[in-house]
Symmetry: C2
Subunit: 325 residues, 2 copies
């Protein structure tokens, strides 16, 4: 398949594995890249910039295909040495960076002078246009469906993608709510040049998380995510389990503060869940795509199935019904 | 175009104009049906069953194409003589009914024995399966994007449509968030057999509402709807204007009751707005498709443009990018 995204990133299929804290490690990223899509390791999953250098080396040892590094810039309690992580990315010859959280303006000059392609994640048309103005090479537009932070506008991709496509000139990835060929073709019809999947790639054989978590992704349906921190204007879509229900109760019935709630859903707890498989210990970001995940294939099986089914859908069913009459 | 919906309903294109209170009158329904889609008049827009009989006659005088009657069954303060409206529908030879609100079980025997095709509107997979079990001929699945009542699950069509398609045997219309060919092709890719549009048909020349309302639909963007009555578990998506903002403020800051709020957004006020063009007098249901409406064409222009663009999208862009490589 050929789109502006495959051309820009030098990949075979217009599918990108989104940045995921604790999940975006070399094993998953390399498997995705070897499947012809774009794998992504997450910078802050590594405890230090030095560890990130090693992780980049591990990806390279497992694939000769393009891959990306995600850099999520968020306010944190403990200061993060972002400049040093950026140096680790640039000095190790990474060619594609996905930025998320705050706008990537401070790091654009160093990325651009290193010839790095920058894909910025956005949750609205206005932020996508801002990213374009800053010189980003592409945007990844996160609809209301997405895992983690969908913003506060609550505009699903059925509207957000065509609204953004009508105004953007740079290529656009559709992110949120996509788990299979149907969603992929829909996103392409809506004006996207490719898709980003996070939650779907968690339920693959190579994802470095406990089997119990993957099984819960298969078992859960489209009503099994929760939007927490809504009252704090910092909405996050997470896996709906007993911990998520507890957070919702404290948030809505008892007016709990962020400081009260954050320990229940901390990144450390999420990391521990992924390791131990105790799926009621904490919770983790999960998108609405959870309602469409029915199996745990390898990344190669997932990507090749999606491409084959997308082609069949376009050349088969859609072409047939669109005939003149 | 040929799909299970065009076959079932005897229409040329898989596009249905959804039932809309005060808007679904003979002029609009006939224009839509004459354009090759399915026009719909709304039973309760007519003050009496006798007036509905006359309105059905008016549609017939303006088109020889199939059309539908919407029957929305909701709890009301003033009792509605539903049985008599149903009789008016059946005795006047109507062939297609769209039911909404409560489940249509009480009226299924009379509709089925009259050979009427019943399309039921649902907001979840479980309700769609229930409608199928009741003998409905098709369902119209309303995603989170839709105008009026999206339910409380907040599942957008990007997920809801494929989730429903995977379980349903009867044909499915996609409803909510669709205003153009891009959304139509996306819905078909996601497993729908056709689409339902409400808000988009309000912004047509033939819609029997004041020009000011149509212009506001063009001006507003994807952030300009509001979800009211959420705290009452009776969520309704409406046009975001000063009245909508007032309702949100009373609802969230002052814990107002339904009885307090309903007069601000009453159907009578909506009707008056449509007549006078005072778009801050009340408010009215409006879906997220509002973000994709850029003009006020005739129904024939809208439908023919959508079909031409859908064909170009499928046979052109999508077919080209799906080529082997």
């Amino acid at each position: 398949m050929k789109t502006r995204i495959t051309e820009l990133l030098g990949i075979r299929y217009p599918i990108v594995q989104g940045g995921m804290m604790w999940v975006g490690r070399a094993e998953l990223a390399a498997a995705v890249s070897n499947a012809g899509a774009l794998g992504t390791i997450t910078a802050l999953t590594q405890p230090t910039p030095e560890a990130l250098r090693k992780e980049i080396g591990r990806v390279r040892a497992m694939t000769d295909q393009p891959f990306a590094v995600n850099l999520t810039i968020l306010p944190t309690i403990k200061p993060v040495p972002y400049d040093e992580y950026v140096q680790a990315i640039v000095e190790n010859g990474v060619k594609i960076v996905e930025t998320a959280g705050r706008n990537p303006e401070p790091y654009m000059p160093v990325f651009k002078s290193a010839g790095i392609k920058v894909i910025h994640k956005c949750t609205s048309v206005r932020h996508a246009l801002k990213a374009e103005a800053l010189g980003c090479d592409a945007v990844s537009v996160d609809g209301f469906e997405c895992a983690g932070h969908p913003g506060e506008d609550d505009v699903p991709n059925l509207i957000l993608l065509p609204a953004a496509a009508a105004k953007l000139r740079i290529p656009m990835l559709a992110s949120g709510g996509i788990a299979d060929a149907r969603g992929m073709v829909a996103a392409l019809a809506l004006g996207a040049d490719g898709i980003n999947m996070g939650t779907r790639f968690m339920a693959t054989r190579e994802a470095p998380i406990h089997e119990n978590v993957k099984r819960r992704l298969v078992e859960h349906d489209e009503r099994d995510t929760a939007l927490i921190f809504r009252t704090l204007k910092n909405t996050s879509r997470i896996f709906r389990n007993s911990v998520a229900e507890k957070v919702l109760e404290l948030e809505y019935k008892e007016g709990a503060t962020f400081a009260d709630l954050k320990p229940l859903v901390s990144g450390e707890r999420g990391k521990r869940m992924y390791e131990t498989g105790d799926t009621e210990d904490g919770t983790f970001p999960a998108g609405l795509a959870i309602g469409l995940i029915e199996d745990i294939p390898t990344c190669a099986e997932l990507v090749s199935r999606m491409i084959a089914e997308a082609r069949a859908l376009i050349h088969g069913q859609l072409a047939a019904l669109a005939h003149e009459n």
